[in-house]
């Protein structure tokens, strides 16, 4: 019998790269992707590396890059991990160039770099300002090629993670997943589990995240005993185009290129934005190289809109400001940011080069996530052959990308989201390989009985969810909207109010317990997964409230876990110091 595969959960940039790295080591992989056989997730408009012609290992540039990250985070970033990541960045960028990501080029044919976004140097590579999209698609094509060539990767497309199974010793031994077409539940052994299922910003109403990005993977890990770090930390964005279904974030680098955010001096000014002269505009966020950091800018804009200074299309409608980048012109915009304006116009009908466009600040991503370790040698380099890189507090469970706590602390600079995901994927693939070839293999071998029991439990639980389809009450989807509003109101753009959030969650939790399943269908059932997503969002919202409360009480870094079904804060541990001993 062959060894159990390493389970990789999520097929965004981090999950796909982890699968490729594992397969290249000859490790068999089971890749679980809720979205199906096509790539779906694509976070990150930039990839931070180093300026052109920076010699390998240039210490001054490394220091400057790390200093930018620390400054933006006001010292809350994990300096050691950020440094390790920054050191790896040029090699990661080079690997992506080789994989065929169509990075923007200068006239001399070399890969271009942009500045801004919190960087004091031009370090940002991009492909049409949609780098995450292009990286994901390039990695997806590479994986398809590898599979065609016999790589040991099984793609469980359209399967959603339901639970991470652990044995009596608390070691991750497999996953329970549901095929969202047939609704069959499968329990599969795994010699290690790499969670690359993204963050949970989709739990917030009006966030820029995908609608199902509510952290079902993170919640499954927490239920399996994993510790969360700083779940209340969120990444804000000042420049999203408001749309009824979901706002679309523009690259914040547009402010660095001189884009100004303004409101009319007279809130009742009914002229078209392009017809309002400079003298009748009040600049809320100034543009240019000295533009403020992303989170600060988002808060400043949120404050101005909350004061009633914004523009509302109709009375009572949410208000917005205007972003003006028309000074750049269509040609220059295309020369710097490729297809960006074309893509924005395709989806919103708005021409960035022609007229000011409406913008609102949004919750953009979660920065907190599963607490993970990194095993650095005294000179700060990741140790080779360590099983601890990106290990969570559950042995055998690793977390990367949005599922893991960001090394960026409380605020992130441009290009570090994608960089962190790819950096983590490389290291976690190595660590999971080491684990899978030792403890992991033994644990998975002994797992059959436990997994069969878990599969049975989850099948019963699923039947109970579908049975909730009778009656006339509110649906899980409607309750989730209410939860999103509560997060938006009490833990979003305005200063957080942990007690108001906790009270709202208690009320919503009671509604969630009664929430109706919107769908009775035996195939492609959409109601039962919606209840699971509500439950995941609710668990993580409780963690946000607990974390925010602990922070208000003066805790610098907060750890949150489940104890007897209750969310508890344990707090106080240094970031990045997840101790494997604690979990054993």
């Amino acid at each position: 019998m062959s060894a159990a595969p390493v389970a990789v959960i999520g097929a965004g940039a981090a999950g796909l790269l982890a699968a490729l790295e594992l397969a290249s080591r000859g490790v068999s992989v089971a890749l679980y992707a809720t979205g199906g056989a096509r790539p779906v997730a694509s976070a990150g408009r930039w990839l931070a590396a180093a300026p052109l012609d920076t010699p390998a290992g240039d210490r001054a540039e490394e220091d400057a890059h790390v200093a930018d990250a620390l400054a933006a985070s006001r010292g809350t970033a994990d300096a050691a991990m950020v440094r390790a990541m920054v050191r790896a960045a040029p090699a990661i960028a080079e690997a992506m160039i080789r994989r065929g990501v169509p990075f923007h080029r200068r006239d001399d044919g070399r890969v271009a770099r942009e500045g801004g976004g919190g960087h004091d140097a031009a370090r940002l590579l991009h492909a049409d300002a949609a780098t995450g999209f292009h990286v994901v698609h390039a990695l997806d094509r590479a994986l398809a090629h590898a599979v065609t060539g016999g790589a040991p990767v099984q793609r469980c497309a359209g399967w959603e993670i339901v639970a991470i199974a652990t044995d009596d010793a608390g070691v991750a031994i497999g996953v329970v997943a549901q095929d969202l077409r047939t609704m069959e539940l499968h329990a599969r052994p795994a010699s290690a589990v790499i969670l690359a299922s993204g963050g949970f910003a989709g739990a917030w109403a009006r966030s820029s995240a995908g609608i199902d990005a509510v952290g079902i993977g993170i919640a499954a890990a927490v239920r399996a005993g994993a510790v969360l770090a700083d779940p209340d930390r969120i990444d804000l964005h000042p420049l999203a185009i408001p749309r009824p279904d979901k706002p679309i974030p523009l690259p914040d680098v547009l402010r660095g290129l001189g884009g100004r955010v303004w409101v009319p001096a007279d809130p009742d000014d009914r002229r078209r934005a392009r017809d309002i002269p400079a003298g009748d505009r009040v600049v809320v966020l100034d543009g240019g190289p000295a533009a403020s950091g992303r989170a600060d800018a988002a808060r400043a804009l949120a404050g101005a809109l909350a004061e009633g200074r914004g523009v509302a299309e109709a009375s009572g409608a949410p208000s917005h400001a205007w972003l003006d980048v028309t000074h750049l012109g269509a040609r220059a915009l295309a020369a710097r940011l490729g297809r960006l304006a074309v893509e924005i116009e395709r989806v919103t009908g708005l021409g960035l080069a022609e007229a000011p466009v409406p913008v609102v600040p949004v919750v953009h991503a979660t920065l907190g996530g599963l607490r993970i370790a990194i095993d650095l040698d005294p000179s700060g380099h990741p140790r080779a052959d360590s099983a601890r890189h990106f290990a969570t507090s559950v042995p055998g469970l690793f977390a990367v990308g949005g599922a893991a706590a960001s090394p960026s602390g409380a605020a992130r600079i441009a290009g570090h989201r994608l960089l962190a995901g790819l950096f983590g994927a490389r290291l976690a693939a190595g660590a999971a390989t080491v684990w899978a070839e030792s403890d992991g293999a033994r644990a998975a071998e002994a797992a059959a009985a436990t997994l069969a029991r878990r599969a049975g439990d989850e099948a019963v639980a699923y039947d109970r969810l579908v049975a909730r389809a009778e009656g006339d009450g509110e649906t899980a989807e409607e309750v989730r909207d209410a939860l999103g509003q509560a997060l938006h109101a009490h833990a979003g753009l305005s200063p957080s109010d942990p007690r108001a959030l906790a009270d709202a969650i208690d009320a919503i939790g009671a509604r969630a317990g009664r929430a109706r399943c919107s769908d009775r269908a035996p195939r492609v059932n959409r109601g039962a997964p919606a209840i699971r997503r509500l439950d995941a969002a609710l668990l993580l919202a409780r963690a946000v409230a607990a974390s925010a409360e602990a922070r208000e009480a003066g805790m610098a870094s907060v750890a949150v876990r489940l104890a007897n079904g209750q969310v508890v804060t344990t707090g106080g541990e240094a970031a990045g110091a997840a101790d494997a001993a604690e979990a054993r």
Binding site: P102, R141, A142, G210, R520
Partner: protein, 249 residues
């Protein structure tokens, strides 16, 4: 506003149409209309039904997951107004794409896209790119822009759905995979062996020669991927490969 939805419970089940009246602002997306139906799934004749199933993920027109037919044309549900095509007397008509097996309602099995890319091996890299030795060649901004335009494909399936050649169990891979093969051939480190490999894959049954040049894909693509150019280039490299092979005989 009245919205009709073609319903189907399972791959082999017969289809039917349910009509719903929804109160949504003019210009609302197809996605918003389906949310409104989900929240009150009562048909115009007063039947309470299970809400239609549909796909949604990014809601910003970039994941290509939510493609449905509106008035017979494949469009993105998140980026297309439900009244974009003037609804007829019976209301707007939503249907699943027709060139993919229906799983349920508006949800289709999209595996043929990945399978087509795999058949053309569009993820293959030239040898120089696979090694980590030596710098890659430079690339002009114009060459890069063409790769960017091809790589902008969101995999929505609209080109396959619109194509007259992809129906009825046809092996034709469709425009998307041909565009991805073109993208692969434009890698900065491209070489003759790489092009030959990709041209060989394009020459198989169901490859670029099965294109009937109806140009329906070009019309259907929401991202304006240069599909006509990709098909022309695919024909060029497959003809050249055939010719060189013939002359070597």
């Amino acid at each position: 506003m009245r919205i009709r939805v073609r319903r189907q419970d399972a791959p082999d089940a017969p289809s039917r149409i349910d009509a719903f009246d929804v109160a949504i602002p003019a210009g609302s997306s197809i996605h918003a209309a389906l949310v409104a139906i989900r929240d009150r799934p009562v048909t115009v004749d007063g039947r309470r039904v299970d809400p239609p199933a549909w796909d949604a993920a990014c809601l910003e027109g970039s994941c290509g997951g939510c493609t449905v037919r509106l008035g017979g044309r494949a469009v993105l549900a998140c980026a297309t107004a439900v009244d974009a095509i003037p609804p007829g007397r019976h209301g707007a008509m939503l249907e699943p794409m027709g060139r993919f097996p229906v799983l349920r309602d508006l949800v289709v099995d999209r595996d043929r896209e990945a399978a087509a890319n795999a058949r053309l091996d569009a993820g293959a890299l030239p040898a120089a790119a696979s090694s980590s030795e030596g710098p890659l060649p430079a690339e002009t901004p114009a060459e890069r822009a063409l790769r960017g335009d091809l790589a902008a494909c969101i995999g929505c399936g609209a080109c396959i759905d619109a194509c007259p050649e992809t129906g009825g169990g046809s092996p034709f891979v469709g425009a998307e995979a041909i565009a991805m093969s073109h993208l692969a051939r434009l890698h900065p480190a491209r070489d003759a062996a790489h092009e030959d490999h990709l041209a060989a894959r394009l020459s198989v049954r169901g490859g670029v020669a099965d294109c009937g040049h109806a140009q329906a894909c070009v019309e259907a693509c929401p991202v304006e991927v240069p599909l006509a150019g990709a098909i022309a280039d695919g024909s060029r490299v497959t003809s050249r490969r055939w010719l060189t092979g013939w002359m070597r005989r």
